[in-house]
Symmetry: C2
Subunit: 458 residues, 2 copies
C-alpha cells in the first residue's frame, strides 16, 4: 500500500513547542475561581502557596496570559520521550471498512505509560527551582504516581505517593516501578495523616478512593516543611502543561496539510482531553476554525453526562479548595467492578465551563464495550491500550462505523493516552468473560449530589 | 543545552530498509550446517520443511545471498512500530561524567516490549503465505510469545505457545497479553505432547526450561497438519530478519555523520546482537571499516565465556537438529534465582563462528550488577529496561567509566532490546535487596558439557 500520509508523523526536536498554551486566555466565559471552603471567597495566591509551588500558583490563577515559555530544562526532559507520534490508524480503518480517516496521538511511549509525564516534569521542576525537598501526591491506577516518581528521580527530589489502597494491592507492579524510581508509596487511607486516620475510623476496611488519597497527600505536604502538593489532573496548571499534546498534534497536522473534523478524548479529571484539544479549541473560540470535540467518560463514573455543574470539593476529606465543575459529589465512589480508570468524581473546571457553554459534546460508554474496542485496536494497531484511552477508541470506532453508513470521510483525531501493560488484571477479567457493567442508579447519584457543599455562587 | 546531535534520530518511513541483510554472505568461514541427529549429515531443505515454512527454510540454508527483499506487507507492519529511534544518552553521559558518546537503539516501543516482533511478523507472514493454519512456538520470559501472538492476530493465524512453566506461573500478565491477542498458552512441560509427558515422568514437578518448551512446540507442529514451528532466536533466519535493527542504526548514524567505535549487545540466543551488529560486521568482514563488538551474557548462563564450541541439540528433548555453537550442554539449566533472562544453553551458530574467529569479544556479568545498571539507566534516561537489555547497559556503563579514566571519547552503541514492564518481580527482588548472584560451578558445567552428543565433525 502506498500512502501519501505516513503511518507515523514525528516532529523534529527543533519543532517541539517552546511554550505551553493557556486556553483560558481565549475563553470568553472564564472557568470559575477556586474558593476557600471556609470563607466562600476566591482563593488568593497567598492562600495557595502553602500547598502549591509558587510558579504553579501563578499558572493556576492566570486566565489571561496565552503562552507560558517552557523552561529549557523541561524541554530537554521532553526530548527523551517527545515529540510523540501522530499515527494514522490505517489498519483500524481497513478492519472497520470505513471512509473515515482515523488518527491518534500516542502518549504511551514512556515508562510512566501515559501523558502524565508532561505535567509531572513541569511540576517537579518548579518544586526544585523553589528549593523544595520534595513533593507529595496521590495516585489511583498509578500512571500519575509513576510519572511523578520518574520526574523526581531525574531531578533528585523526594517523592511521596499516597496510592489508593485497592490499587496498591491489585497493582504491586506499579508500586514496584515507583520504588525503582526511588519514590515512597503508602496505601491510602493510611495512619500517617489525620485525615487518613479519620477516614479509617469512619470506614474501617475501606479500599480508599482518589478523593481520599488527595486529602492525605495535601495534609502531608502542608505539615512537612520543604514539601508541596502536586496533582496530575483537574487543575488549570495541569491542562496548561498538557497543551504540549495538542500543540504537537496541531503542528503535525499542519505539516501534513490535514485538518481534523472531530477530536475525541477520554475524560477522567480532564488532563489529556484538555491538553489534546487546547490549540484546536483556541481556534474555535477565536472563530478561526471549527471542530467537533467529544469527551468520553465511563458510564460508571459519568460526571459530564449525569453530574451537576456546581462548586464541590476536589477531595473526600473536604480539606481541598472548592472547584466549580461537573461533579457527582465528592462522596461518590464508582462500583468496585469498574476496571476502566477515569474514576474521579469531578471534572476540570476549564472543560466543565466549555461543556456548559456548548462548545464540546460528551458521551458515556460501558466498560465491556470499552474493552471490546481495546481488544480490536490492540490486534490491528499493535498497541495494547490503557483502559482509560480505550474510552476514546470506543467512541472513535463508533464514529467511524457511522461514517461507513453515511459515507462521510470524516477526519477523526483521538488521544491514545497510554498503554495497558499494568492493567492486565482488567484484561484478564475481560478475557475470562467475567467483566460486567454496573452503572450508578439515579438514587445513588441523587444521594452523593445532595451532599454537595452549600456555597454562594460567584 | 544545545546539541548538534538530537536526542532521538528517526528515519523516515521512506528510509526504512527494503531488504534484510544476510551476514553469512560476507563470512569467509561460514557457520557450520545444522545436522540430522540420526544420520550426522547436514540437514536438507526436504528434511526441514515438515517443521519450518518453506521460505524460511530457504532463508535458513542460504549462506550466499546478501540481501533478501522485505515483502511489502511486512514493511507495512514494520511501519506501525518502526523505524525505532537511535537515542543519544545525554543524561546517562552526564551522570557518568564520561567523555564517551553513548547511543542506544531502542526496540521496546511496541506491545511485545522487544525486538522480537521484527522476526515474528516475518515468520508469521511466510506461514500465512504458505497457506498454513497456524504456528507453534515456545516462550520463556514471554517476549517472543507476545510478539508472535501479535503478528498472528494481525494476519489471522492460529498461535499456540508453550510457555516455560515457571514463567507461566510467575508472569500471569504476559500470559494475559498473549490471550488478548488470541493465542493459546500452555505451560511446559505439558501432557499435550509425548516429549512433555516423558520429561514430566523423568522430572516430576519441574518448572521447565526453554529447551524443553522447544521440544514440545516442535512436536506439536510436526503432528498437527497445517502447522509449522517458529523460533525467536538462534536460527540464521532470525538473525536475517533482525538485521533491520542494525540497518536502521547504520542509516541513522550515516545521517548524523557519526561512526560508532564499539557496539555492545546482550546475548542469549543471539537474535538482537546478531541483528544489531550485522551491517557493521559486514563492513568489518569486507575490510571497509573496523569496529569493536562486545557480546554480554549473564554469568549464570555463560555460553560464550565458559561453554564449548561444539555440535549440540537446541532443545532438551533432543528431537531438534544439532547446531554447532558455543554451548553449556542442552541439559544445562540456570539457577532458579537467575532473573535476568538470556537463559538459553546455546548461542546462534553465526555469532558462535564470529566469536570463534576472533571477530567479537564476549563478557559475562553478574545479575546484581546488571540490575544496578538498570536502575541507574531508568532514573536518568526515563525507560525501565528489560533485564536482558540491562546486560548491555552494564557493559556500556563500564566502558564509559573506563573512558573517564583514559579520557578517550569512544562512541558506544548498545542495543536496548526492550522494556521491563513485565519483569517487576525481578525488580522487586532487587528493590528489596533479595537478589543474589549464583554462578554455575566448574563441576556443574563439566557435567552438562560432558553430556554433549557425539557427532562427527563436518
Amino acid at each position: 500500500m502506498k500512502n501519501d500520509i505516513p503511518y507515523k508523523t514525528y516532529l523534529t526536536e527543533d519543532e517541539l513547542p517552546t511554550a505551553w498554551y493557556n486556553l483560558r486566555a481565549d475563553m470568553k466565559q472564564k472557568p470559575a475561581p477556586l474558593l476557600n471552603p471556609g470563607t466562600g471567597r476566591a482563593l488568593t495566591a497567598e492562600e495557595l502557596t502553602p500547598i502549591f509551588c509558587e510558579e504553579l500558583v501563578r499558572q493556576e490563577l492566570d486566565d489571561e496570559t496565552a503562552f507560558f515559555p517552557i523552561p529549557a530544562e523541561i524541554r530537554d526532559f521532553y526530548k527523551m520521550y517527545r515529540p510523540s507520534p501522530l499515527v494514522r490508524a490505517y489498519c483500524l480503518e481497513k478492519i472497520l471498512d470505513t471512509p473515515a480517516k482515523i488518527y491518534y496521538k500516542f502518549e504511551g511511549n514512556n515508562t510512566s505509560g501515559s501523558h502524565k509525564l508532561n505535567s509531572a516534569i513541569a511540576q517537579a521542576y518548579y518544586a526544585k527551582a523553589q528549593g523544595l525537598r520534595g513533593v507529595t501526591t496521590e495516585t489511583g491506577a498509578g500512571q500519575w504516581g509513576t510519572a511523578l516518581s520518574m520526574a523526581c528521580a531525574y531531578l533528585g527530589l523526594d517523592c511521596r505517593v499516597f496510592m489508593v489502597k485497592v490499587s496498591f494491592e491489585q497493582k504491586p507492579f506499579r508500586r514496584e516501578v515507583m520504588r525503582t524510581y526511588g519514590a515512597s508509596v503508602t496505601p491510602s487511607p493510611s495512619t500517617e495523616t489525620e485525615v487518613g486516620r479519620r477516614i479509617l475510623a469512619e470506614h474501617p476496611g475501606t479500599g480508599g478512593s482518589l478523593g481520599c488519597a488527595i486529602s492525605e497527600a495535601v495534609e502531608a505536604a502542608a505539615k512537612n516543611p520543604g514539601y508541596r502538593y502536586v496533582l496530575g489532573s483537574v487543575l488549570n496548571q495541569v491542562l496548561l502543561h498538557q497543551s504540549v499534546i495538542g500543540l504537537e498534534a496541531k503542528a503535525a497536522f499542519d505539516k501534513l496539510g490535514v485538518k481534523p473534523d472531530l477530536i475525541i478524548g477520554c475524560a477522567g479529571g480532564g488532563s489529556n482531553l484538555g491538553g489534546l484539544i487546547a490549540p484546536f479549541m483556541g481556534e474555535k473560540l477565536r472563530g478561526e476554525a471549527d471542530y467537533r470535540f467529544l469527551a468520553v467518560e465511563p458510564a460508571s463514573c459519568p460526571s459530564f453526562t449525569r453530574g451537576v455543574f456546581a462548586y464541590d470539593f476536589c477531595d473526600t476529606g473536604m480539606i481541598c479548595p472548592l472547584a466549580k465543575m461537573y461533579t457527582l459529589g465528592s462522596s461518590f465512589i464508582p462500583s468496585p467492578n469498574h476496571a476502566g480508570g477515569l474514576r474521579f468524581h469531578g471534572m476540570s473546571p476549564v472543560l466543565s465551563q466549555l461543556y456548559h457553554d456548548g462548545l464540546m459534546e460528551a458521551r458515556a460508554v460501558k466498560q465491556t464495550e470499552v474493552f471490546e474496542a481495546a481488544e480490536l485496536f490492540a490486534r490491528c494497531e499493535g498497541i495494547l491500550p490503557a483502559p482509560e484511552s480505550s474510552h476514546a477508541i470506543r467512541a472513535a470506532i463508533d464514529e467511524a462505523n457511522l461514517c461507513r453508513e453515511t459515507g462521510e470521510e470524516t477526519t477523526i483525531l483521538f488521544g491514545l493516552t497510554g498503554t495497558g501493560y499494568f492493567d492486565l488484571t482488567a484484561y484478564q477479567q475481560f478475557n475470562d468473560g467475567r467483566m460486567s457493567d454496573r452503572i450508578p442508579s439515579d438514587e445513588d447519584l441523587a444521594k452523593s449530589i445532595a451532599a454537595l457543599p452549600r456555597v454562594p455562587e460567584c
